[in-house]
Symmetry: C2
Subunit: 574 residues, 2 copies
């Protein structure tokens, strides 16, 4: 049973699930369904797909995650970041609006799902650790900015293309003269309404006597109200006749692909994008899941999350949609609506299905500019300048990392930006660990403590040099260690014994061992004995398996104190 | 003066240079010049260039390194590894023997030189640390094997092409029927002579009464003898008339390129190869330089080595040659000939120039099969199976790394093999550091020492959990830390205080800080206080600049003992 519940986390909460839970969850799901629809439509549009695809992507994925995921409250569906990455990935292959475009989107969702499952099977989830904080921060800010700029075409009612700053701006500028006035007016009024509602609606509800619960819930319903209102206005005034772009008729068939359409060459070229989309989606989703789980002392199993999100994406592909993941604003909405367990995910899927089956004509007059407004306003919160300021104070190097990632995403695109950031953070780390802190130490008089000669007044011995290295010993710094020790010995001809104090060494690899063997051999040639002291258990296990210990011309001392005592006695005898 | 001698290391030894030194160096240089010629010709052939180019590559580079390099005995010139990498890099652009081929070789040398200088200027030498021991070992073994197989065409006197195992073998097999019998006989007899001379020549010299010094010196002259003998035999019997391939007439002009020939697109495509050649060459060279310097307690400055080798390569380009570096066998020969300071490099250059000017007709009848034999025999020593066996015993993971690099070089080529190895070693490291050793610790009764609860019988407190993390805290494990701590707390509902013991933390970055802040916030939500203990100085400096300390709902304790004492008292009061 233990194992089964690990594979189907749903089994855990289902055991105690009762009628009251069902009633609460039904209400929460109905409210959540209504609230989440504008967001879902908007993010499908962001992915360059018909807005309705956002609803397709909210059914099967949500059910699959509810059964296989480990978070109780995470809401899975279309999310801004992965949607815009999807649009950018499809752009080289197809034009938005074509059947080919939808096909590539489905393939991307499928590949992302397979990737996540493979990562889970091979326990490769640690790869996501490559996305360091500054890289993610720069990536999100730049992507949000690109998204906002990308929405301008909907506000103006013009055409424009591109997924990086310069082509986007150029294209927009060249079409500026074609601005559609009714669209622009509609856009400005919806942005203003959304902003005003967000700021004052809760206070207004409170002032007319709503309960705190009601205020908390309906305070977030601003987008729904604006969508409904704008749709009515467009329909009544027939604004679509004067150039306002609307969603229009919903296709009666869910898009699907046949095997013949799958082109191996294209599949291969899609792999990197699918990989990045799944990694970015996974990292964001787990982070949201963890922050909500922690408050209730619940646990998230990242490896099982890979399974849940992987199946959700495969479900999205089967539904003819595009890559999905767990979203922050979606989950906040879910929790605010009262979701406490994954049953809401299943019920929400059911209600969205009902809407798809019976209520799509209601969306006919929904203007695209409103969806663009919803997107832009939610993206504005993701542009994070504070983070840069904080990093600048704390670590210039990491601030530069953020800035480089940010600029590369803006100018060269999301994929290149992300990869540049990852490579740069690896290089920075490598630089750091290649310049390990190495201290010459001596004994604090009258104690058994050994400290840095540069910071403390300590006792040293002319023919015994003790060096403490404050870093793991592995390939990235193996040769540096070699150089530094050699240079120390060549500068101090009086040295007869070199003691390497290993208190801070948690790990050692073959490259470091080889360097130590070389050092040991060279020191022997130069008439110097190499000793080790304070070697940790796991490191000693490795050393014992190696040739170093046999070939070492010195000794391994348990403590530094012992080492010095014995070596000083030996020197005194000589 | 200090600074000038750092830029021109030659100034140091020139200060005390006298007439006796000059006499000794002249003799050493003459002997070395004669000994090194076969090797230089052979490695030029390995690079796919006219053998004589090996001499061009031994003049200016040797002088420039002698002035700017920091090793006293390193011999710089054509080296097997970089030569075969050069051949493999040029192959996509030109056919061996054409003018275009020589042009690309010159460009490669120039780019390698520029790369090395840039690495030096930007202090990026640490990048070479990416080449871990298993990767280098697998790379060298596979490359040596490819080189040996590549020589078979010279032994058989047939055509064959390719720089990876399968094309090479296929091509060779298809031409097997065209084997030239005189060439094959010549090859077999020269391989046998070389092997016999290597094994018995020293003993023979000793038996006829040579002094130890003479034996040591002339024991290595086997290749020269065989080359001279074979050249005479070929000339006398006119073996070139029956299909034995000879070096033939030496072009009277040194190849050079004009700006018009430099194609920007090609230059761009050559960059990765040039980069890898310079990195591999640099790593090999520094390692040789260091091992010879260590015996005499001399010091090698890797950053200045970048300058020396960079200028040597630019010198090689100006001489119409190909990438060069410091070689192991070349340096051994140099030391055996009595070289003690870089003047021998300058004198050797002079003597090689003399040979080029006046004695090249002597090389006319030199058969290529002999050079191939010299190459093959020296490569046989580089195929290192012992290393694999050793690694397998010591670390399966690193043995796999070696095997993967080895196989990829054989099957996919040197560049892909090397890159695969580097990426894989980074991934292995990332995996390791993403799975840090995290121990729950308790107090050894009656002491102030805290040890792992799983290894020792220790005292713990039900509401206080102390966790020791044995790894640096940075992006690669920040989220893991988050997950592990969250999971520990969610599994132990009684916990009120979590103490993070930081004895093994040498470094912390923004990602880890962010994770700690998140953990701190979430633990606060769950009613748990987060404390830190035993934070090292440099880490504390960083923490003090961050928001963590202000937002921490617990305290930072100097020692773990203090932490437990204070928290236990607090718990007792409550």
């Amino acid at each position: 049973m233990m194992k089964l519940s690990k594979l189907f986390p749903a089994l855990v909460w289902l055991k105690t699930y009762n009628r009251t839970d069902m009633q609460n969850d039904t209400i929460a799901s109905i409210v959540f369904t209504i609230m989440v629809i504008p967001q879902s439509l908007a993010y499908a549009m962001l992915a360059g797909l018909p807005a309705i695809t956002g609803l397709y992507a909210s059914i099967l994925p949500s059910i699959l995650y509810s059964v296989f995921g480990t978070s109780r409250t995470l809401a899975v569906g279309p999310v801004a970041l992965t949607s815009v990455m999807t649009a950018s990935a499809i752009m080289p292959f197809a034009v938005s609006g074509t059947e080919q475009y939808a096909t590539v989107a489905i393939l991307l969702a499928f590949l992302s799902g397979v990737f996540l499952l493979v990562l889970s099977l091979l326990r490769l989830g640690f790869l996501t650790n490559l996305l360091s904080h500054p890289v993610i921060s720069g990536f999100i800010s730049a992507t949000a900015l690109i998204i906002i700029i990308g929405q301008l075409k909907y506000f103006l009612g013009v055409q424009s293309e591109g997924d990086t700053l310069i082509p986007l701006a150029t294209s927009l500028y060249s079409h500026l003269a074609e601005t559609n006035l009714p669209t622009l007016l509609l856009s400005i009024s919806s942005i203003l309404s959304l902003l005003l509602i967000r700021r004052y609606f809760s206070a207004f509800l409170k002032s007319i006597g709503c309960s705190i619960g009601m205020v908390q819930l309906f305070g977030k319903s601003g987008p729904v109200l604006v969508v409904v209102l704008a749709t009515i206005v467009v329909a009544m005034l027939s604004l679509d006749k004067v150039g306002v772009s609307i969603i229009g008729a919903i296709p009666s068939e869910i898009p699907s692909i046949t095997l013949e359409e799958v082109n191996m060459a294209m599949l291969k070229e899609l792999l990197p994008s699918a990989f990045l989309i799944s990694i970015v989606g996974f990292v964001g989703s787990v982070s949201v899941a963890q922050s909500f789980a922690a408050k209730r002392r619940q646990d998230i199993d990242p490896n099982q999350e890979l399974v849940g999100l992987g199946l959700a994406n495969i479900g999205s592909a089967l539904s003819g949609a595009f890559p999905v993941t767990g979203g922050f604003s979606r989950t906040v909405l879910n929790v605010d609506c009262g979701a406490k367990n994954p049953m809401t995910g299943i019920l929400t899927a059911f209600f969205i299905l009902l809407i798809l089956l019976f209520l799509t004509p209601l969306f006919f007059y929904l203007p695209k500019a409103i969806l663009a407004a919803i997107i832009s306003i939610s993206m504005m919160q993701l542009v994070n300048v504070e983070d840069l300021r904080y990093l600048w104070r704390f670590s210039k190097k990491e601030a530069v990392l953020l800035l480089v990632t940010f600029s590369m995403v803006l100018l060269q695109g999301m994929q290149i930006g992300l990869i540049t950031g990852v490579v740069l953070s690896l290089l920075f780390f490598l630089w750091h660990t290649s310049h390990p802190h190495i201290a010459i130490v001596g004994r604090l008089p009258g104690t058994e403590h050994f400290r840095n000669v540069q910071r403390f007044t300590v006792e040293t011995h002319p023919s015994i040099l003790t060096v403490r290295i404050d870093e793991n010993l592995f390939f990235a710094n193996a040769r540096v260690l070699e150089e530094r020790l050699q240079s120390l010995v060549s500068q101090n001809p009086a040295i007869k014994h070199l003691v390497l104090m290993c208190t801070a060494v948690n790990m050692i690899d073959a490259s470091a061992l080889q360097s130590l063997e070389k050092i040991s051999g060279r020191l022997a040639d130069a008439g110097v004995k190499l000793h080790l002291s304070e070697v940790k258990g796991p490191v000693m296990d490795i050393l014992q398996n190696s040739d170093l210990i046999q070939n070492l011309n010195g000794k391994v001392f348990l403590t530094q104190h012992q080492a010095i005592k014995e070596l000083e006695e030996k020197q005194a005898e000589a």
